[in-house]
Symmetry: C2
Subunit: 218 residues, 2 copies
Amino acid sequence: MPMCPRVSDEYKETKKREIAAAARRVFIRKGFAHAVMQDIMDEAGISRGALYAYFDNLEHVFMEVLRYDDEELFQWTGPELQSPVWGMLMKWLGEIEQDLMKLQHSLVRARAEFFLSSAYVKDKKHYPYIRQRYENAVDAISRVIRAGEERGEFQPLQDARSLAGYILSFLNGLMLDTYQLGPDATWAEQQLDVFRNTLKLMLKPSSTDGYRDLSIGE
Amino acid sequence: MPMCPRVSDEYKETKKREIAAAARRVFIRKGFAHAVMQDIMDEAGISRGALYAYFDNLEHVFMEVLRYDDEELFQWTGPELQSPVWGMLMKWLGEIEQDLMKLQHSLVRARAEFFLSSAYVKDKKHYPYIRQRYENAVDAISRVIRAGEERGEFQPLQDARSLAGYILSFLNGLMLDTYQLGPDATWAEQQLDVFRNTLKLMLKPSSTDGYRDLSIGE
DNA sequence: AGTATAAACGACATTGATGTCGTTTTCAAT
DNA sequence: ATTGAAAACGACATCAATGTCGTTTATACT
């Protein structure tokens, strides 16, 4: 029996999450490329030694931040999908639009920077993680589309997986551009209108209750 | 009258372009985040002093590389658009698809890294340039759509500018994801099929001669 | 050939960040 | 209270990259 560990495992877990939360704020503020360990120490109010006791390096910090973050990302695509699926989808897009409009600072940029720059590292050690994230996102969206299909609510013109990829690509692209230039420069709202239209045309939802019909000819 | 400049202005311009070409190779290989001045000196086979005689810093080098590159980007959207516009559009997408498939290393990643990371710098000194680039791209695509519209070839469901933004967002997003994960992981081909479909539905081209009809119901 | 001028060179001082490590502090069990 | 373990601290050695500058080299004109 060890003499006496000074603090409980629980304490350490809590502390780690605290530091990660501080780091998260830093990454939101400065992105990944310009963030340094010192920023995190300052933000968390801890010493160099303490930080390095919990994390090996900046990449490690970031990966953990992402991990905590992901725990609540695609919650809306649980097994228990309330009806109607189209409504859920539009609601989700609405939330994304809100984020874009408010220029609400999220991890979007830091994440993009991180993934991009880690594409170079020789050993490719994050690749499985990055790929897994992408797969998860595609799966979540595919599941929603298939749910709508099985209920007879959608009649997709192409397969769910391809559509899911398409949806992700567009949203990623829009978020990136908008992050840099602002929603006014990119016409984010109008782009989203176009996008909603394409979804409608591709998914052929039987009903679009409760959401504005853009009255596109057809 | 100055005594004698050792070399002509032309010589200096040539040399600058040579260095930029070397730098371009470096950026393609390592991206922006991991490239350093030394890499460019090595690649170009010149000394530190020489490099700094032509460029102030790494960002400066990159901006110049981009500038040279842009000179030939949207050439296909000149004032003299050959018919049919839909065909041109599809041809362009085909080229993009080729690039993606070959994983042909281009400046895509470096450019994204550069724009993302320069979003932080306090003084925002590149902002006008970045924005200008975006505007140019949107304009070029808008022009194409309007040309098709004026000729009665297209009947767009929404305005050209919104559609242009939408097109850019999707392509940017697809390129980024595909750069990181490869065209197989992202199902790039299938995504592009979906995308072509949406374009067809949104632009309603009167004819799609010469390009595969995906025989979507309708 | 000789010379003035600027291009090219590369050593160097400087900066900024990293990860380590010996020391100090804090806590829980005795 | 005492004590032992480990959490937190912060000084420090190290490293990598930057931008400068005094020196050397190349060239065009005389």
